[in-house]
């Protein structure tokens, strides 16, 4: 709702007016005033921290004194590349992140399609709220829910055992994590795809039909290519959130993610330069991922 200015503008000192018109004539100055604080924040608080993380990853820990030696070197990265355990952890983290992303895309697409193109406007509004609410509701609560569901005497086994089946146990950590992460990040995939599908003009689909394409052909050759950037946008979240997690692996399994190694090296007895080096790995992966996503047009769907 636009508000209307009252008939009599409030009295204002000459100084205020002069400043206003001075600013009006200098758009560059306006821009400078708008940008200085946020840029300072981004550079100091965020990008600066990333640089410091990067720099830290080249220091090393003296194994005897336990203090950080400030001589740049690649020893942390050499250790990451040459140690079997860390290679396994990296492959596992990225592998589960990829599996979760694919799973979520497959589950999310029909739901998003129903919301965007089949449901009535009323149902659509209701569904958006219904799917948005758990997206923001506590992450830890959801991890805990899966811990309860998957425990040996839990609800899942109560259903499966009479059928002669068994849910994934504590030793099948990868499967448990795949389930839990697919659950956790599903709304992050549904919403961008929904927004992407909603933006497709109905006239394009009608044109496709007029040109003789059947439902499936229209879907594959019109809808899917147009919705693909939105899927990529959603995948940024499902992939990144899975890759950066360490709490669910702790709670649900005995397997380690990159985050577990990073986190356990931050404590008093930890090896901070090594933790920093391992944290650089997801940064590099995500920067490549984002660069590809940007080329695919995903940023307009964020």
């Amino acid at each position: 709702m636009p508000a209307y200015a009252p008939d009599t503008p409030p009295a204002r000192g000459d100084a205020g007016r002069r400043l206003a018109s001075a600013l009006y004539r200098r758009p560059r100055l306006q821009l400078g005033l708008l940008l200085s604080a946020p840029i300072a924040w981004l550079v100091v608080a965020y990008l600066g921290s990333l640089v410091i993380l990067f720099v830290n990853s080249f220091w090393r820990l003296d194994p005897f004194t336990g203090t950080v030696v400030y001589e740049p070197g690649l020893q942390n990265f050499e250790r990451l590349a040459s140690t079997e355990v860390y290679r396994t952890i990296t492959v596992r983290t990225l592998g589960i992140a990829a599996a979760v992303t694919i799973t979520d895309a497959l589950i999310a697409f029909p739901i998003a399609y129903y919301m965007a193109r089949v449901a009535s406007p009323r149902t659509r509004g209701w569904l958006v709220v219904t799917i948005l609410m758990p997206l923001w509701s506590s992450y830890l609560v959801k991890v805990f829910a899966w811990r309860i569901i998957l425990q040996d005497a839990g609800p899942l086994n109560a259903i499966l055992r009479p059928l002669g089946l068994e849910g994934p146990g504590f030793t099948e950590g990868e499967i448990r994590l795949w389930l839990c992460f697919s659950y956790l990040w599903l709304p992050y995939m549904i919403l961008p795809i929904f927004a992407g599908l909603e933006r497709i003009p109905t006239s394009l689909l009608e044109a496709s039909g007029d040109l003789g394409a059947r439902g499936w052909a229209t879907f594959r050759r019109v809808v899917l290519p147009l919705a693909f950037p939105a899927v990529v946008a959603g995948s940024i979240f499902t992939f990144s959130l899975t890759m950066g997690d360490y709490i669910a692996p702790n709670q649900l399994s005995s397997v380690q993610f990159i985050g577990n190694v990073v986190q356990s090296n931050v404590g008093v007895a930890g090896d901070l330069p090594f933790a920093a080096a391992f944290a650089v790995v997801p940064v590099v992966v995500m920067l490549v991922y984002l660069a590809v996503a940007r080329r695919l047009g995903a940023f307009d769907s964020l």
């Binding site: 508000a3 200015a5 689909l205 439902g215 979240f237 940023f299």
Partner: protein, 266 residues
């Protein structure tokens, strides 16, 4: 292309299953909060409110709630100011590095939490800044800025610039135009962005574990309960957290559904 009847039914079933998948685990959390027994075996044994009494009178839980609210308010305040300034700059001006800025601002939500957490932790250590409520707020603000930025940016994109020009033509100066025209247009977007930023901060745990000193936010408190042998009291805290974050999110969704002032249709 109206979907065929079979397709529609299939999609409806898929959606129903999807919703069940999303809500069943939350329902299980809810059921256990009323369990009589301490063990979390299925099915629950007996009904009781004793975990509610225990959880809601725990002074540690109340302290954690207060800390969470403080952190959320601090981070939201920073996010509102910086996010709004940034969205105006990116939407209203063309400048060198604009693309880079709009890319940098989404990094905090695109990069994993351990990266943000570890980066901030390294920085605080390097400069000898003690971990405290202040560092928690800084950590939360990094990703809250994006939320406000996105909300205000979307509103500005939907709003015709001409109404501001009309205001200026009618003799209003920059301040009056902002006060009486621009601000009312973005007001609900600010509120929605602020509420979502608060909800995000209220729920954040991974970055917080890297930036907290002795302070316990509610998620940190829950994490501590989870690392011991959790009783149904955790479920009670969980339900309170869900409800507390559901309200702002619900209000925010309602607020963002009304459009800005579109050209010609105002």
């Amino acid at each position: 292309m109206p979907a065929s009847r079979a397709t529609r039914i299939g999609l409806r079933v898929a959606t129903a299953l999807g919703l069940a998948f999303i809500y069943l685990p939350l329902a299980i959390i809810f059921v256990y909060a009323f369990s009589e027994a301490r063990a979390l075996a299925w099915p629950i044994r007996g009904l009781s409110l004793r975990w509610w009494e225990q959880a809601l009178t725990d002074p540690e839980a109340i302290d954690a709630l207060v800390t969470s609210i403080q952190a959320g308010l601090g981070a939201t305040a920073i996010a509102l100011v910086l996010g709004t300034l940034l969205s105006f700059a990116v939407q209203r001006y063309r400048f060198f590095g604009r693309e880079a800025v709009s890319f940098a601002v989404i990094l905090p939500i695109a990069l994993p939490g351990i990266v943000t957490g570890m980066a901030l932790n390294s920085t605080f250590r390097t400069f000898g800044i003690d971990l405290s409520l202040f560092t928690i707020i800084v950590g939360h603000a990094t990703f809250c800025v994006v939320i406000v930025y996105n909300n205000v940016l979307a509103r500005l994109r939907r709003t015709a610039r001409s109404i501001e020009e009309a205001s200026m033509d009618l003799g209003a100066d920059t301040w009056q135009t902002f006060r009486f025209v621009t601000f009312p247009v973005i007001r609900t977007a600010l509120l929605a962005g602020g509420l979502l930023a608060f909800a995000l901060s209220f729920d954040e745990v991974i970055v917080t574990t890297f930036t907290t000193g002795g302070d316990q936010t509610l998620p940190i408190y829950i994490l501590k309960l989870l690392s011991r042998d959790p009783s149904p009291a955790v479920n009670v805290v969980a339900i309170v957290v869900i409800l507390l974050s559901a309200v702002p999110v619900y209000v925010a969704t309602r607020l963002s559904s009304d459009t800005g002032v579109a050209g010609g249709r105002a």
